[in-house]
């Protein structure tokens, strides 16, 4: 589904991502973990086209999208959530989804109908996703007035309303309590069942180990390990990256 070849991003002298090769297979939940500042979020930003790559290729279904504009990648089926929530605070919950739905849902409609038409057909789909996200009761609230957990759910809802093929989740569990994380776990599993490919960046190890099929570990912009959750957990390099190298006695 998603393939990164020699992907690099340098900010001045800082090599945020340095020659990363990654292959995220279709239909899997793929975890990307690493210590703070290891370049995980940068990978997401490069995949969704928020800034240009320094070197390397981003391939989606074997098609090169490295140079494609951000909004066009959404049309190809790549959507994301943000580490620090970025909703349209002055729009209602429902409008937040309506805006995002524009990317894919109504391309077949005429220009006027698509832009100047009322909610009409969009409504059923949005209602379904509001229900999935447990936000049905909040549809007319302003997004900015929602509680933190609700905002996180709305962000996920906005990412899936455009019917993505590849979903990039940038620390979706940050700031959530245990119950909310359980719900998130269930939602990710449901999305996988529906055939979505998910790239999950997360610090919350319990969630990552429970929900992912494969995990890659980044440190200083480079991949230091990749494998199933069990393999990664027992990898010595990974333990060193997270816990520091044991001093020779």
């Amino acid at each position: 589904m998603l393939e990164l070849k020699g992907l690099s991003k340098h900010f001045g002298g800082v090599r945020a991502v340095d020659g990363l090769d990654l292959n995220v297979p279709q239909g899997e939940v793929f975890g990307l973990i690493g210590p703070n500042g290891s370049g995980k979020s940068t990978v997401v930003n490069l995949v969704c086209g928020l800034f240009p790559v320094t070197a390397g290729l981003v391939l989606l279904r074997n098609e090169d999208i490295t140079e494609l504009a951000s909004h066009m990648r959404v049309v190809r089926g790549v959507t994301r959530t943000f580490q620090n929530i970025r909703l349209f605070g002055q729009l209602s919950v429902w409008q937040n989804l309506w805006v995002a739905q524009n990317a894919i849902e109504h391309r077949s409609e005429g220009f006027l109908r698509r832009w100047l038409g009322g909610p009409g057909r969009a409504r059923a789909e949005i209602d379904r996703i509001l229900e999935f996200s447990d936000l049905s009761g909040k549809r007319d609230e302003l997004a900015g007035n929602l509680a933190f957990g609700e905002q996180r759910r709305l962000e996920l809802a906005r990412a899936i309303v455009a019917r993505p093929a590849l979903l990039l989740l940038d620390e979706p569990a940050a700031g959530m309590n245990a119950e909310e994380i359980d719900q998130l776990d269930a939602r990710i599993r449901k999305l996988k069942q529906d055939g979505l490919t998910v790239l999950l960046i997360e610090h919350h190890m319990e969630l990552v180990m429970a929900v992912t099929d494969r995990i890659a570990v980044l440190n200083f912009g480079q991949k230091i390990a990749e494998g199933t959750p069990d393999e990664v957990q027992t990898n010595r390099l990974v333990q060193e990256a997270y816990l520091g190298v044991a001093e020779a006695a």
């Binding site: 909004h71 959404v74 959507t79 002055q90 805006v99 455009a162």
Partner: protein, 309 residues
């Protein structure tokens, strides 16, 4: 009476100007170019009626399209810069337009008089209304017909997906991009529509004042244009209308006895409004409150109907 008719005309034209800035402001762009588009509309429409002998309706339509086209062309380079830099860029454009008309001399002899724009002296003899026997009331109705049309169109747009998309871009461009919105296209489209509306307002303005000159389209007018929607809030087109009535009717006319001190008050008022009502006189919370009130009154068994039993 004539005083109030005149005031209503000013309010109408300034509402168009304010609404043109409203469109652009929805996408989060502060543009001081609106007075420039307004000037272009004024000169184009006036030249068409005076020099080419057109009827006013096609003349202001053509003026709107010219202003809209220029706004679109300006939009691409200008919207690459953001925030304060955009303010500076649009201000520079507005001044360039003003200085163009300051130097623009295109007079044609009609019998013994020369008519047409005469550079710094301005463009006199824009006499379509008196020549065709329009009364002040006719002119007033003509102006408000367009105000009503533009307000209705924008009100409709606000409730459509296009309105939500414009606001989404205004809130957070990065999030909008990631939600599949072509941010550049949206911003340029808003700029174009804004230019179109400003051109329409300018075309009408030229004909009811009968005399236009570069000094009318300076920084002060550009500031007014952007102040109306900021003051009125971006939640509804009616906010802009209310702000224009307040500024033109109350501040400019009502406080005339204060002389030039009014301008000081105007600045103070914007500061006050930004502190007390940062999202404008009519914000989303106000609209939500009104909606809730309406729903409460409709529900059976609410306090009022119970009291009546």
């Amino acid at each position: 009476m004539d005083f109030y008719l005149g005031l209503a005309q000013i309010v109408g034209v300034h509402t168009l100007l304010g609404l043109s800035a409203y469109c652009v402001l929805l996408t989060g762009q502060v543009s001081l170019a609106q007075a420039g588009f307004f000037a272009i509309g004024a000169y184009v429409a006036a030249m068409l009626t005076v020099l080419a002998g057109w009827h006013i309706a096609p003349a202001i339509a053509a003026a709107s399209f010219v202003a809209g086209a220029i706004a679109c062309a300006i939009g691409f380079p200008a919207l690459r810069v953001k925030g304060l830099m955009l303010v500076v860029a649009t201000l520079a454009f507005g001044e360039a337009v003003r200085l163009f008309f300051f130097n623009f001399d295109y007079q044609v002899a009609r019998g013994e008089v020369k008519i047409g724009p005469a550079g710094g002296e301005g463009f006199r003899q824009i006499r379509f209304f008196p020549e065709h026997g329009w009364s002040t009331l006719d002119v007033l109705m003509f102006i408000w017909l367009f105000v009503a049309l533009v307000m209705a169109a924008l009100w409709w747009m606000d409730r459509s997906r296009a309105g939500a998309v414009l606001r989404a871009v205004g809130e957070d461009e990065v999030a909008a991009q990631s939600a599949g919105i072509n941010v550049t296209a949206v911003k340029v489209a808003a700029m174009t529509v804004g230019g179109f509306i400003a051109g329409l307002g300018g075309g009408i303005f030229a004909h009811y004042t009968a005399h236009i000159e570069h000094a009318q389209f300076g920084v002060a007018l550009a500031t007014f244009a952007i102040a109306y929607p900021i003051l009125g809030g971006l939640s509804s087109v009616f906010g802009t209308l209310i702000a224009v009535i307040f500024v033109q009717g109350f501040l400019i006319e009502g406080l005339r006895f204060l002389g030039d001190w009014r301008n000081l008050l105007f600045g103070a008022l914007i500061l006050l409004a930004m502190n007390v009502r940062p999202r404008g006189l009519i914000d989303a919370a106000t609209i939500a409150a009104v909606k809730r009130m309406r729903i409460r009154n409709r529900e059976p068994g609410n306090a009022r109907t119970q009291g009546a039993e």
